[in-house]
Symmetry: C2
Subunit: 152 residues, 2 copies
Amino acid sequence: MKLQEALKTDRFRDEQHKATLNVLYTAYWFKSHLSIVFKEHGITEEQFNVMRILKGKHPEQMCVRDIASRMLEKNSNVPRIIDRLVAKKMVKRENSTEDKRETLISLTAKGIEQLEKVSKQVETKSNDIINLSDEEANQLHNLLEKLREEEK
Amino acid sequence: MKLQEALKTDRFRDEQHKATLNVLYTAYWFKSHLSIVFKEHGITEEQFNVMRILKGKHPEQMCVRDIASRMLEKNSNVPRIIDRLVAKKMVKRENSTEDKRETLISLTAKGIEQLEKVSKQVETKSNDIINLSDEEANQLHNLLEKLREEEK
DNA sequence: AAGATATAGGTGTACATACATATATTTGCA
DNA sequence: TGCAAATATATGTATGTACACCTATATCTT
């Protein structure tokens, strides 16, 4: 659906306004599509993200802070997301002996298995819906990097 | 901040994957910046969006459904956002006589005043942080429209 | 006209962000 | 060394999305 149809308006202040609304809308659109996959597997996008981050170090453990620093949304409440993953037996929480303030998190066998299934479907779904050539995707990436330059 | 710094990774599946992560991150980045403005005025982004939509028809009233259809996030729980705006006396809720199922919403004088202050600051802030020329913004818009084409 | 169906809005629950604050532990410095 | 400050995590609250379900009212069909 075109942006102006989705928002039922074609009144945009300027090109920058239209483009940023489109960034917000496209992010929403993409998340909505993926949420169908997550729902089929009884997890949420954020739970998936935590598991995906843990996979990067598996079978090593990661502390909560390390996971949080790799989350896209920096204000995610990682301890609470972990609570839910522990309840589903997807991850294990252990106390650190080295630094007793830390808790160390790692994927369980069940978590690994689940993650791999979901990852495959997420990848397939993404490929299905993202209608860009490699070159266009790269242009898009570069424009977004430019957009955020000279952050104050 | 560059994408790979923000996510502390440079392992991207392909160009499409990198670009879509960048869309999600840029949306988050933009919202984070604007949230500072909203916070100063004691409202949230979604409350602002509802008021902005009402402004488009002011001084006419709008029913909840009409507002919801113009929201960027289509699953927004508009009745509850309106609850909070009513509590702050930013909007008025009245029963429709024409269709008794409907409630009609409109901005109060206080709401208009608040909206105009916040709008100005949102506009200034956006201009400050969005580092794109008109042409680049238009390219970005076109790539995002292309990205979502042939939605299944 | 009467009953089935659709529509508008409100409400309940799970989970998420945003953010303030609490607690335990470690680190750094006088 | 001992205490202040920093750090790691957890927890509480307000607000939001996602989605199921409820109620009142309107519309459609026969």
